[in-house]
Symmetry: C2
Subunit: 145 residues, 2 copies
């Protein structure tokens, strides 16, 4: 019932899931660890880490994200603007809000991300939606796909 | 949608709730901050902090707790034994499991604690249950009420 932290945001008996990067993927250099996923709770608690130069998927969905930064620093694109994020900052991603996390500097950006267990699949932007996002000053040069 | 961390586990626009300690209370020197409590999520994300010399309530309930230590170190009584806990350790408190958190050393013990929004009220031990817990070697001298 206890998973000891073994350093650098890795935990005893919790697997680090590496996503394969390649053609057709929508993220770069992201790992995921599922910290809590129990039958007696209505939520899933994950830890994501984005290596320097990487980025999370530019996506949106009906479900919300509750996020806390616990490693490094970076920026998040949220809805219609980009915000600096650092240790222990809290980010709420409301339903159907476009978002993308990117690290800044030499350290990975690590964040806790909690979601309802019962949730929809992410939506990726259509070419038209992407063109619209890219036309937004301050956002267009930030987002990566 | 962003609450910046302002240092020492305090956040912009998030109130620190101090519990009054006195006769009839079951905890000592505990503060609570509600980090996320939104209509679109099925969980509530809280941050608790126990000052040196303090302790959380000795209690149990039908709902589970998912916990991560983010400040200081301490011990947790969980079910039938006491475990050391330190930065970023994860603790799962299953349904109907007696538990109590206590700091160790000069720093407060701070932890994230996530619960289902829809949950039952905590149960405190009856005199008989308390006598049984106190009879457990290693536990009896730890728990405080």
């Amino acid at each position: 019932m206890i998973h000891a932290h073994v350093g650098d945001c890795r935990w005893e008996d919790i697997e680090v899931l590496h996503y394969k990067t390649g053609s057709g993927t929508t993220f770069k250099d992201v790992t995921r660890q599922v910290l809590f996923d129990e039958k007696d709770i209505a939520f899933q608690w994950r830890y994501f880490e984005v290596a320097p130069g990487g980025y999370s998927s530019l996506e949106r969905h009906e479900h919300a994200h509750a996020v806390m930064i616990v490693r490094g620093r970076g920026n998040v694109f949220l809805g219609d603007s980009v915000h600096a994020i650092a240790m222990y900052d809290l980010v709420y991603v409301p339903p159907l809000t476009w978002h993308q996390f990117q690290p800044l500097g030499d350290e990975p950006l690590g964040f806790l991300c909690i979601v309802d267990s019962d949730r929809d699949r992410p939506q990726l932007p259509s070419p038209e939606q992407l063109a619209e996002l890219r036309a937004n000053p301050g956002v267009g040069e930030f987002i990566k796909t």
